[in-house]
């Protein structure tokens, strides 16, 4: 029997409606007890005085690039990045090489995750073979192998008839569909949000309606079929309005996330042709950012994610139009949430943690993301008084492409336990 006692921290466990100074006793990888002043008889004691003790964060959208592009990221470097950010469970997108559109790739990712053994990695499969938007993938086998959802992330199934069949088939096997919402013909080579900034920069741009129409299409098909649908990285006022009205109609099979950059930053980050600010969905104009914040406040949004997308330097050192899309985020997502949502008073710390722990866990039907007694001891301990400047060179991720580079953020993970094992102590990963 091994035991760890976390003493005197501010325990914020939104699932159990808890926000108070308390102790947590971990025995054999499980949370044994959460109560103030537990007697110190443990193998190890962590002093959490002045710190926030939260459930390990759950991120529904990361790109670990393994197999295939291990020059950009591996399951190990991605896991280390996650630990730095207090993320203990990451859902891996299937756009690896080869694509995770079959059980063999899912099994490979799970094997590599187990060998690495730093965090929980849950793979997803593709909706369609090769994410090509045409033939359905073998969703039952993907699920049996351990895939928690299917998604053609980065691509949206353009043909509504195929998407309808995919939803019907996913429902047959009680599989979650995650949709990246984009209408290719409206994006039409656009590389940033269409608006005043794109006009000043003279860049081909993608209009918000490209996302709005796709969100509407996905919602209507999910309402028709009854399939479980999770909408990835929403970024427009139109998207969140459509989600809000679907939920108001009683569509309980639909959930939605926002990636942290989309409530924090606007398309003005692209000025000067800053390729770190190039991503899809693109950073939107301030009016969309404001609408996203409102949707987070009013409960339309169920989860905050990173869409962690590491790239090698040469892929960003290109003309903006040709540069790779995406930003790394695992090491900063808590700090971005805290700095842009909690500090300005939009939501409480507990609400922010809920959006990054038990709420996303529930979407993939995982029992993680809580500090309930008997739950796996995934615990992240944050210093919410620590202000720091993002230096990409200090990131654990192989991708140094961070849109928050040189920005000042508040809040940093200090200690992290995964399955009861202390993996990071005093911001240092132990192995």
């Amino acid at each position: 029997m091994t035991s760890i006692l976390i003493q005197n921290g501010r325990v914020v466990d939104p699932y159990n409606n808890l926000d108070e100074i308390s102790d947590i006793l971990v025995i054999d990888g499980m949370i044994a007890k959460v109560t103030p002043e537990i007697a110190d008889e443990s193998d190890q004691v962590i002093d959490a005085t002045g710190l926030v003790v939260a459930p390990g964060l759950v991120d529904l959208q990361v790109h670990f690039r393994e197999p295939g592009r291990e020059d950009r990221e591996t399951i190990e470097t991605g896991s280390r990045a996650a630990l730095k950010g207090g993320v203990t469970t990451a859902v891996a997108m299937p756009n690896s090489t080869p694509t995770a559109d079959n059980q063999a790739v899912i099994e490979f990712i799970l094997k590599r995750a187990a060998e690495t053994g730093l965090i929980n990695i849950l793979p997803t499969g593709a909706i369609t073979s090769g994410q090509s938007g045409s033939m359905l993938s073998e969703m039952s086998e993907i699920k049996q192998a351990g895939g928690v959802a299917v998604t053609d992330d980065g691509n949206d199934v353009q043909n509504p008839a195929i998407l309808r069949r995919a939803m019907e088939y996913a429902k047959t096997h009680d599989m979650l569909i995650m949709s990246h919402c984009e209408t290719d013909s409206l994006t039409d080579g656009g590389v940033m949000h269409e608006g005043w900034v794109s006009t000043q920069l003279g860049l081909p741009a993608t209009p918000a309606i490209s996302e709005d129409l796709a969100v509407a299409k996905n919602i209507m098909l999910a309402e028709l079929t009854g399939a479980r649908l999770h909408l990835l990285h929403n970024s427009t006022a139109g998207a969140v309005a459509a989600i809000k009205s679907a939920k108001a109609r009683g569509a309980t099979n639909i959930t939605a996330e926002v990636s942290v950059q989309h409530f924090a930053l606007s398309d003005e980050q692209c000025l000067g042709y800053n390729t770190d600010a190039k991503m899809y969905p693109p950073l939107r104009s301030a009016d969309h950012v404001a609408a996203i914040v409102v949707a987070i406040k009013d409960g339309t949004i169920d989860a905050l994610t990173t869409d962690h997308a590491p790239h090698i330097e040469p892929d960003k050192l290109l003309p903006f139009e040709h540069a790779a899309m995406g930003s790394v985020g695992l090491e900063i997502s808590f700090a971005v949430m805290y700095s842009y949502l909690v500090e300005p008073g939009h939501i409480s710390l507990s609400e922010g943690i809920a959006l990054m722990s038990h709420k996303p866990a529930a979407i993939i039907r995982s029992n993680r993301g809580t500090l309930s007694e008997g739950a796996p001891a995934d615990i992240s301990i944050f210093d919410i008084k620590k202000t720091w400047t993002v230096d990409p060179m200090l990131l654990e991720s192989k991708g140094k492409n961070c849109v928050f580079k040189q920005m000042k953020l508040t809040g940093k993970a200090k200690h992290v336990l995964v399955g009861g094992e202390l993996q990071m102590q005093d911001e240092r990963i132990l192995r």
Binding site: W196, T199, G202, L203, A205, L317, P319
Partner: protein
């Protein structure tokens, strides 16, 4: 004779310098810079093709990642008239085709100790980014749909000379055509704002960029209404492929609805000036009779002013009196 011309140019310039080291956007050019550039350009225009030595000993690399004939010839001849050595890279022979990053390409060219690097690219922002990484002064010869600053300057000079004034205050400029795909527009609108012109745009809505009115322009979908009272009519080229991509049905219909004919030009103010950045597609953008010979056309004057503007910039960038040097960072 060259000595006398150089002396007169030096008299015009005095010890004045421009505030920038690279030119990738009109936004970098201060009001004082504008006046200085125009004064010197007028001097160069009078000098015609005289072989001068103002920039002797300096090298220029014309780096045209996107092919160009007119702009490249204008920059090249301008440099040669000032005594510079020039060479051309780009197009089919460029290293970009072999997978080299454009930043590595321009850093290599910079290592030839070129004094000026003229860059044309089919993507926006290439000159601006290149400028951060080289010691040479970068001149943007057109980047994607963004800007073409020497074109904007030559257009402004052409307009000012038509009215013998220092600003365009009280004057109305109508820009007609494909605005969204036009780097010429990007620089023109910025320089016109600086010169206090009233700016109108007439185009099918499909050819307008998002929120273009934020520049402070008035939009028209009826070119004939837009022409009324206009002092300058600036037509932009509409490319054949825009039809294929669904921006307009046909060039034929575009010509009927937005093409500038003699009859339409008469709707503008008396003696209104007609301009076009070239290449003109006769009878589509502008009716053939208006292009070169019509008394109101300044299309060839624009070309001549282009050389003068480029010479002024090259001299201002090659020879500085303020002792300031450019900062840059290698990657």
């Amino acid at each position: 004779m060259g000595d006398a011309i150089e002396k007169s140019l030096r008299d015009i310039r005095g010890k004045r310098d421009v505030s920038f080291f690279d030119l990738y956007s009109i936004d970098q050019v201060s009001d004082t810079d504008l006046g200085l550039i125009f004064e010197i350009a007028r001097g160069f225009r009078s000098a015609k093709t005289a072989k001068l030595t103002l920039c002797k000993g300096n090298t220029q690399v014309n780096c045209f990642f996107e092919p160009s004939t007119r702009t490249q010839a204008s920059f090249d001849l301008s440099a040669k008239h000032l005594g510079m050595d020039t060479t051309n890279v780009g197009g089919g022979s460029s290293s970009a085709k072999k997978g080299e990053s454009f930043i590595d390409t321009v850093e290599t060219l910079d290592a030839y100790n070129a004094r000026t690097l003229v860059i044309r690219s089919s993507e926006a922002g290439v000159a601006e980014i290149a400028a951060r990484h080289v010691a040479a002064s970068v001149l943007n010869a057109g980047d994607g749909w963004h800007e073409h600053p020497t074109q904007g300057l030559l257009d402004a000079l052409t307009m000012l000379d038509c009215i013998q004034a220092d600003t365009l205050a009280g004057k109305t400029v109508l820009i007609v055509g494909d605005v969204v795909h036009s780097r010429v527009f990007g620089s023109l609108v910025r320089v016109l704002i600086r010169l206090q012109a009233t700016i109108r745009i007439a185009a099918p809505i499909t050819l307008l960029p998002a929120e273009v009115e934020q520049f402070g322009v008035t939009l028209f979908t009826d070119v004939e209404k837009a022409l009324v009272g206009t002092d300058f009519v600036y037509t932009l080229r509409v490319q054949e492929e825009r039809g294929a991509k669904g921006f307009i049905p046909t060039l034929r219909e575009y010509s009927k609805t937005f093409g500038i004919s003699e009859w339409r030009l008469d709707l503008a103010a008396k003696d209104a000036i007609l301009m076009h950045p070239g290449p003109v597609i006769r009878d589509i953008d502008v009716h053939s009779a208006l292009v070169s010979r019509h008394p109101q056309s300044r299309i060839l004057t624009q070309v001549e002013n282009g050389m003068a503007i480029r010479k002024a910039l090259l001299w201002l960038l090659c020879e500085r009196f303020d002792g300031k040097t450019k900062t840059f960072e290698r990657i």
